[in-house]
Symmetry: C2
Subunit: 130 residues, 2 copies
DNA sequence: AGAAAGCTTGACGTTAACGTAAGTCACGAC
DNA sequence: GTCGTGACTTACGTTAACGTCAAGCTTTCT
């Protein structure tokens, strides 16, 4: 089982990303595959990190934020203090996401009500109306 | 009542935007204030358009989209055909927004459930866990 | 062995919506 | 007249997350 080492191609297919993305993440120090000559080989650790990175993206975390979180873990995830920071960061993000969703909902309601007014929709786009 | 003409400063305060923003919108042909010498003077029409632009932004419309919508209206909002296009555009945007919100909600639920697991949150950020 | 494939690094390009800096102009105040 | 103030134009800078060449090195197929 060379199941443990994957080429860049395999990684791309497995995670549905482009090679450029993986190299980019590496340049940003988010992952650090080993080298066989000049080729990159990704370990299970890399896959784990990538998985988290992609998940983080779905949460809206920026890559830099994810890097910090991953580093926090590396330097002792067992560390109570570090863990707390991670949790705090996550909580803040959660709050952000909820605010964002609320605003989005308001905008949706507003736009929908405009639409429901049928042709009165025009009023919404009537410049100097009245 | 010079209520009808406003300077760039007054506009900025009234709408909470910077001068740069107004000039930028002008460059993008979203508004077109008249000139008193070299100074810009904004009419009620400009204010109406700006209001719509800012509202559109809250809806997530890009400036270019707003420009098109505003133009549609200008060239005969009374035109049945144009109106339909506007409505279609709005409907599509609405659908987009709803999809976006749904995804956001999923991410929120996911992140929240991680957090609710208290310290198990760590698991979410545990690279090669298990 | 020669060519096609695949990987690599490097570096510039892209998009949106302005920010920011530099140098001019014009006008009321003194 | 000239100083301060505000407005103006022009143009480059910014941010994020890659995309898109370009050009060279290997490995692989035939």
């Amino acid at each position: 089982m060379d199941n443990d080492l994957m080429t860049i191609r395999e990684m791309c297919e497995a995670f549905d990303v482009t090679p450029r993305t993986l190299r980019f993440y590496e340049a940003k120090e988010l992952i650090s595959p080993i080298r066989d000559g000049q080729k990159r080989l990704y370990t299970r650790r890399d896959r784990g990190r990538l998985k988290l990175i992609l998940r983080g993206k779905r949460f809206g975390f920026a890559l830099e934020e994810m890097r910090q979180l991953l580093n926090l873990y590396d330097r002792g995830g067992a560390n109570e203090e570090q863990l707390k920071r991670t949790i705090v960061a996550a909580r803040e993000r959660l709050a952000q996401m909820e605010r964002q969703r609320d605003e989005l909902n308001e905008a949706i309601d507003e736009l929908r009500s405009q639409l429901e007014n049928g042709a009165e929709m025009l009023a919404a786009f009537r410049p100097a109306a009245e």
